[in-house]
């Protein structure tokens, strides 16, 4: 199996501007979130990228993609019919090929020399089946993610055979149906926002979109059908995902990227300063030492 194509979804009505935000990367260069996501994709050897967007967003996205625009195709989702439908918009683009899929509101930071996308694609190619990247997730975060339950694959650290997938389960359900041996109690495998998907998945997406009992079906609904149709793996990558769509999400993602890059020392100093000058009761910054961006202690 070879993975040369990638699909990035960014058409969600409330989140379509998220990839347009500007951040500073690990080298100190200003980039949009979209650029960072495209760079992540390209690092895995991807040659063609499709971004699913809302109608009318293309100009902004072209601008945000910057120099990486050459291999990028934009596909509009005409109606906001949900995540599953958005992915199916890219079906003509991917054809029958396996493809890498990333969501447009997540940024990734690897803790090893290989990027998260590279780790995932490599695993999918080795096992020749759909693979979803997952991260151990504490139960209080369950309302935000698709959760998989499974068993670990012997001899493969961090690799799991998926038995069940549920979108945003309750902890009650998770505890009964989604416990994965080997994780700490109260922890589950939550989607990382990065998948390698195959034709089987597209077929399942068609089914869930056609299912009238489901309101705005998601990828999880389709992925739930996969374990019954063949091998479906989940891989716990060496790295972390940062959801920029939640409150303070972009701030935390920026801090994480910054602290892992060139400006770590400077950021740490600023943080210490912030903490030290915080008034104990009201959480306000003291007037005495005005913060000067970029100043070193």
């Amino acid at each position: 199996m070879r993975v040369c194509k990638a699909v990035i979804t960014a058409a969600s009505p409330n989140q379509n501007t998220l990839p347009l935000q500007r951040l500073v990367d690990g080298h100190g260069d200003e980039k949009t979130a979209l650029q960072l996501i495209i760079e992540e994709t390209l690092s895995a050897g991807i040659e063609e990228i499709a971004v699913v967007i809302r109608p009318g967003d293309e100009a902004n996205y072209r601008h945000a993609a910057g120099s990486a625009i050459s291999g990028v195709t934009f596909i509009a989702q005409d109606q906001p019919l949900g995540y599953a439908d958005a992915l199916l918009r890219a079906e003509p683009f991917v054809g029958d090929d396996a493809f890498l899929h990333l969501v447009g509101d997540h940024l990734y930071l690897s803790s090893i020399n290989k990027t998260c996308a590279s780790q995932l694609v490599e695993m999918a190619c080795r096992h020749e089946c759909p693979v979803s990247a997952v991260q151990s997730t504490r139960e209080h975060r369950l309302p935000y993610f698709g959760i998989v339950g499974g068993t670990s694959v012997p001899q493969h650290d961090g690799l799991y055979e998926v038995r069940r997938v549920v979108e945003k389960p309750t902890p009650t359900y998770a505890e009964q149906q989604l416990i994965t041996p080997g994780l700490r109690s109260g922890h589950y495998l939550g989607y990382f926002g990065m998948h390698v998907l195959t034709r089987t998945v597209l077929d399942a997406l068609h089914e869930v979109v056609a299912d009238e009992s489901l309101e705005r079906p998601s990828l999880s609904d389709a992925a739930a059908k996969l374990p019954a149709r063949g091998r479906y793996l989940a891989h716990q990558l060496h790295g972390r995902r940062y959801n920029i769509g939640v409150q303070y999400g972009t701030l935390i993602a920026q801090l994480a990227i910054g602290l892992s890059g060139r400006d770590r020392e400077m950021l740490l100093a600023e943080l210490v300063e912030l903490l030290a000058s915080r008034e104990p009761d009201r959480g306000l910054i003291s007037n005495e030492d005005e913060l000067i961006p970029g100043a070193m202690l």
Partner: protein, 1114 residues
């Protein structure tokens, strides 16, 4: 372990997998063993229980130990060794440090040898540890059920993982108000009973034997409700305030919760069950207890910023104690509603599927534990539809119980379909069964403990009965499958009259027996059978009739229930008038519906409850949603269909005339006080003293510097060694000469016996002798009769009464033909009553903090603490030391202590009449109503006469449960010291003898001490003066007694109220009256203070002992 087990038959019995060995009874294994051999066996068991890792083996060893020390060993102790109980061990016991307590008692046993006292202490400690171990295991299992665990891990409100369903968060388009999720749920009735096999402990040890047939039913109260419907309705909606509002329309209680801590405060209002549901449903998970957060933070995460939840319960006024598991199914309904709303149950509306029902049942068990109550595992059956078999299941490798107990916590439910039980059979059942609530609402907790203990000990008779009950279960299921309701009736009757009463004789009572007899007499063969619901009879019950007469029988039974209740309400604790239900089998279980548009409204009683409160506030202070609610009420009232509701609401808002709300008024009470010698001056003095602190619980105590030590052998005569022939002869001559009479103290209402229910304890028919329930009074007369007939001499019998008991006792004596007693009976009516007072918070604190009490299980202790805070608030708000008048007059007045009973006989002329009728009368034996072993024994009488004492008090060797003072040497003089007067706890534990209250009174000597002689008894002025003078020489104690206040539908609140007393034992402090003390055996002096003692009393031969003293005359 097997090596150890092979050496001891007791250990073999506990550890064997062979049922034949495993089910051997303790009695058979201990038969013929000496005290030394029993102690050896006990030591081995104790070693075993310390190391055994199997829960049930450990528990069984503990119950074996408790039983050996309670029942086997005391009968083998031939000498009269008077051991004392180490106070440290007792202190550990009270504080639930059971292991330390046992070690303390055992070390004394090692050092000083075993004694009856020590044996009683060890029995209690092992017993408590056994139940604690079982409760811990159930708690552990409840917590570890998958789906429940996360709730104990959540520690911060902001990390809450649940979200309210989006549909509920979106205001209804038509009305602008948030939609309401309504859940309706059935209640359950238990057809087969199966000998309480649904107790968790039993199901977890013996899953094969834990089987019930359980039917979900809809109800209506006959004559009140127009239709039969699911009795439970719960309503949930989002509100526009960041609070949780809980409303019980039946209890007319509303609370608004704004902190997490309040949600865990169960005792502060009547909404504990709703709080337990919110917690068990995970909305405020148990892990958050003590987190210190406001509820708004939690609600922001779960519901949205500025939003809250409102939860409303309604049980259609089904009275408490219906034995239909109303509270558990209400809990289930609330939990189901909340779990649907938070997505934990997949379907927001409609019926539940099997996995959802199991989840709800598991959470209901959790909720019951959190709320400090407990039921059986079948109780949430109303959540399931129709008729189902519920069976215990062996624990498998995937279950948390695996390797710990044989069975799982959660049973399996099999809903029987139309092929198994046809629709015709279901219709026939409905056409035959009359469901009633007899009006009694009793605590079944002690019964369930007794059942558990019997099961673990495998008493031979009880085990046989359990086997029979299991075979009856099979027959019941078959009878229903065959559609044979008549046979079903025979089986349920056989079950009730056979195995159930063999295992627990107290499952029935005189009221129930009379109802069954009356039904048999009235309908003969057309009365097909009786059916006990739940833990005990007297509340919810079923009567099965031939369908041809069912309708008529239903009316007849309704009247008969009330008639018999009227006759017995002074002797049995009824909480309400009986009712007859209409019922139908419910085939849906628990069902939810989303109310929107024109259906969007809370029940009428909710509106009636909240509307007056809303109207009291300025409109600007009401939230927008409440304003919308109010305008919706206005809109509804304009509709023709809303006229009746509008009238109800209006009635609620306007004052109602007094004649329609006939509550006991203050004028009734004042009439009672005037007519019964209430002394206003004394009352005001006591109130002033109480407020100033001159009297009170702390002031009851003797000064600390007075030396109080145990008596020596020279201070007592030990009657356990027998009396000399001379004394016996002297006594016999006195009896034969008509020189002795009996005084039975029956003025009290037995606060502990019925927990303040205010019935006449003397008339309570508590135990079957010679095939019929007998009351205390009947038993005392039967003892008198036996001696009188033996000596062919009438023995006058005085029954002292008070305003609370006199009429009831007179009526009972009249109705029963004086219980067939042929000797003279005198009623000595009390001449004074006191008026109870609201307690001082100081005294409440003293009672809770300074006086010894048993620490309860963790959750119950929290309930107690919370309840106490509410009681202290009540005392403050009602006014400390104000008159307690907010209850029936009988519950507001009190007898003024048993010291007055003898003086009353002087004042009311009873003694004079007795002497007139029998001038030879010389001695009286005075005894408490609950001292069942006391009788006219010639040895005691002869000894008393020979000693020349004015008063001879019978004392008994102290056992652990004998608390409340004793015989002591005070400043060198032997006297009785009341428990109230003990300067500290430790002193009491140094006293070997406990006062039985049985007193031999030399009439002339005591009259002399009063400054009277026989001729003065007709001079009321002189007598009154003498009594007043004597009373002034004796101390007055302040005590706190519990009284019940009944309200609503069989609801009861218990309040501690203050009263004053003078006590008879204090006669021993008077130096001019010669008091002597006789040590009597335990059986003779044992007192029955609480119904929970009955089982032990019956099993240890106490009832047989009493029976042998009586002559029944039916």
């Amino acid at each position: 372990m097997s090596l150890v087990a092979s050496t001891s038959p007791l250990l073999q019995t506990i550890t064997s997998v062979d049922p034949k060995i495993r089910n051997r009874s303790l009695e058979s294994l201990c038969a013929g063993l000496s005290a030394e051999q029993l102690i050896d066996q006990a030591n081995e068991l104790d070693q075993f229980r310390r190391t055994a890792d199997n829960l049930y083996e450990r528990v069984r060893a503990l119950f074996f130990l408790a039983s050996i020390y309670r029942y086997q060993l005391p009968t083998c102790l031939t000498d009269h060794a008077l051991g004392s109980i180490p106070f440290d061990g007792y202190d550990h016991l009270l504080n639930r440090r059971f292991h330390e307590s046992i070690d303390s008692f055992l070390s004394v046993q090692q050092r000083d040898g075993i004694s009856d006292a020590l044996s009683s202490a060890l029995a209690r400690a092992y017993h408590e540890l056994g139940f604690q171990t079982l409760a811990d295991q159930v708690r552990h299992s409840v917590r570890t059920v998958r789906g429940n665990q996360w709730m104990f891990r959540l520690g911060h409100a902001g990390e809450h993982p649940l979200r309210i369903h989006p549909v509920l968060r979106k205001p209804d388009q038509a009305t602008g108000r948030f939609p309401i999720l309504r859940e309706t749920t059935a209640v359950r009735m238990d057809v087969s009973h199966s000998a309480w096999s649904d107790i968790f402990f039993l199901g977890m040890d013996y899953p094969e034997g834990a089987r019930v047939l359980n039917v979900s039913v809809d109800l209506g109260v006959r004559g009140r409700d127009q239709q039969v419907k699911p009795p439970i309705e719960t309503y949930l909606r989002v509100i526009d305030q960041p609070i949780v509002r809980l409303v019980s329309v039946d209890l007319e209680a509303v609370t608004e919760i704004s902190t997490v801590a309040e949600m865990f405060d169960f005792g502060r209002d009547y909404l504990g069950l709703l709080k337990a549901a919110v917690i068990a449903a995970g909305v405020v998970p148990p892990g958050l207890e003590g987190c210190g957060s406001g509820i708004a933070e939690l609600l922001e995460t779960v519901v949205g910023r500025g939003k809250g939840l409102e939860l409303v319960s309604k049980i259609n006024d089904i009275p408490k104690g219906s034995r239909l598991a109303v509270s558990t199914n209400l809990l289930g309904s609330l939990i189901s509603n909340l779990m649907r709303a938070t997505g934990q149950i997949q379907s927001l509306t409609g019926r539940l599927d099997e996995s959802d029902r199991r989840l709800v049942a598991a959470r209901a068990i959790l909720g019951e534990w959190i709320g400090g109550s407990g039921g059986g595992w079948q109780d949430s059956g109303g959540v399931w539809p129709g008729i189902k078999l519920i069976c215990g299941q062996p624990a498998g490798p995937d279950d948390p119980e695996y390797g710990i107990s044989r069975g799982r916590l959660m049973p399996d439910h099999h809903v029987m379909d139309a092929d198994e039980i046809t629709p015709q059979t279901r219709a026939k059942l409905q056409a035959s069964l009359v469901l009633v609530h007899g009006g009694m609402a009793q605590n079944v907790g002690p019964i369930l403990e007794m059942v558990t203990e019997h099961y673990l000990l495998r008493g031979e008779v009880q085990t046989e009965a359990r086997t029979e009950a299991m075979s009856i279960y099979d027959d019941v299921v078959k009878a229903l499958r065959d559609g044979d309701i008549k046979r079903l009736g025979r089986l349920t009757t056989r079950n009730f009259e056979g195995p159930l009463q063999t295992i627990i004789p107290w499952a029935t009572n005189r009221f129930t027996d009379r109802l069954i007899d009356a039904s048999r007499n009235q309908y003969g063969d057309q009365f097909w059978g009786f059916w006990m619901l739940g833990g005990m009879a007297g509340g919810g019950m079923g009567f099965i009739f031939d369908p041809d007469v069912k309708s008529e029988a239903q009316c007849w039974l309704g009247e008969k229930l009330v008639e018999i209740k009227r006759e017995m309400e002074t002797s049995l604790p009824f909480a309400m008038d009986p009712v007859v239900y209409d019922f139908e089998i419910n085939n849906d279980g628990s069902v939810a519906k989303l109310l929107t548009g024109t259906e969007l409204r809370m029940p009428l009683k909710y509106r009636a409850l909240l509307l007056p409160e809303w109207l009291r506030k300025p409109i600007r202070e009401l939230s927008p949603q409440i304003r919308l609610d109010m305008s919706a009420i206005a809109d509804d009232s304009e509709q023709p269909s809303g006229q009746a509701d509008a009238a109800t609401l209006l009635r609620r808002l306007l004052p109602t005339s007094e004649s329609k709300t006939r509550e006991p008024s203050a004028s009734d009470l004042h009439g009672v006080l005037r007519a019964n010698g209430f002394d206003v001056t004394e009352h005001e003095q006591i109130r002033a003293d109480l407020r100033s602190g001159r009297v009170g619980l702390a002031a009851n105590r003797l000064p600390r510097d007075i030396r109080i030590v145990d008596v020596e052998s020279r201070h007592v005569f030990d009657a356990r060694d027998g009396f000399g022939l001379a004394a016996e002869q002297l006594g016999q001559d006195a009896i034969a000469g008509g020189r002795v009479g009996v005084v039975t103290l029956a003025a009290g209402v037995g606060s502990r016996w019925t927990q303040g229910a205010g019935v006449c304890k003397a008339l309570h028919p508590f135990h079957k002798f010679a095939g019929r329930h007998r009351s205390f009074l009947e038993i005392h007369l039967a003892k008198n009769r036996r001696v009188a007939h033996q000596y062919e001499t009438p023995i006058p019998h005085v029954v002292t009464t008070s305003w609370m008991t006199d009429e009831a006792i007179a009526a009972a004596l009249h109705r029963t033909g004086r219980y067939g007693h042929d000797g003279p009976i005198y009623r000595s009516n009390g001449r004074s009553v006191g008026l109870r007072l609201i307690p001082m918070v100081r005294d409440l604190q003293f009672m809770w903090e300074e006086m010894p009490e048993q620490t309860l299980d963790e959750q119950q202790q929290k309930m107690r603490a919370s309840g106490r805070a509410a009681i202290a608030d009540w005392a403050r708000s009602a006014g400390e030391a104000n008159d307690y008048v907010d209850n029936l007059p009988a519950q507001c007045v009190h007898p003024v202590g048993h010291w007055y009973e003898f003086p009353n006989m002087l004042r009311n002329g009873t003694l004079a009449s007795m002497i007139d009728a029998q001038p030879t009368l010389q001695t009286l034996m005075l005894h408490n109503i609950d001292t069942l072993g006391a009788n006219i024994d010639p040895g005691y009488l002869g000894h008393h006469l020979a000693s020349g004492a004015a008063l001879s008090f019978e004392v008994i060797p102290r056992r652990l449960e004998d608390r409340g003072g004793g015989l002591a040497l005070v400043a060198g003089r032997p006297r009785l010291v009341e428990g109230l007067a003990m300067p500290n706890e430790r002193i009491e534990f140094g006293l070997k003898f406990y006062n039985s209250m049985t007193t031999w009174i030399e009439i002339d000597d005591v009259l002399r001490a009063f400054g009277l002689c026989r001729d003065d008894l007709r001079d009321s002025v002189k007598v009154d003066e003498a009594v007043r003078t004597m009373a002034n020489r004796l101390p007055t104690y302040i005590t706190l007694k519990e009284v019940k206040k009944r309200w609503g539908h069989a609801q009861e609140d218990v309040f501690p109220v203050a009263q004053f007393e003078k006590l008879w034992g204090d006669m021993t402090i008077l130096e001019d009256i010669e008091s002597r003390f006789i040590v009597a055996p335990m059986r003779r002096g044992q007192q029955l203070k609480e119904p929970a003692q009955l089982d032990g009393w019956h099993r240890d031969g106490g009832s047989a002992y009493v029976d042998a003293l009586c002559q029944w005359n039916d």
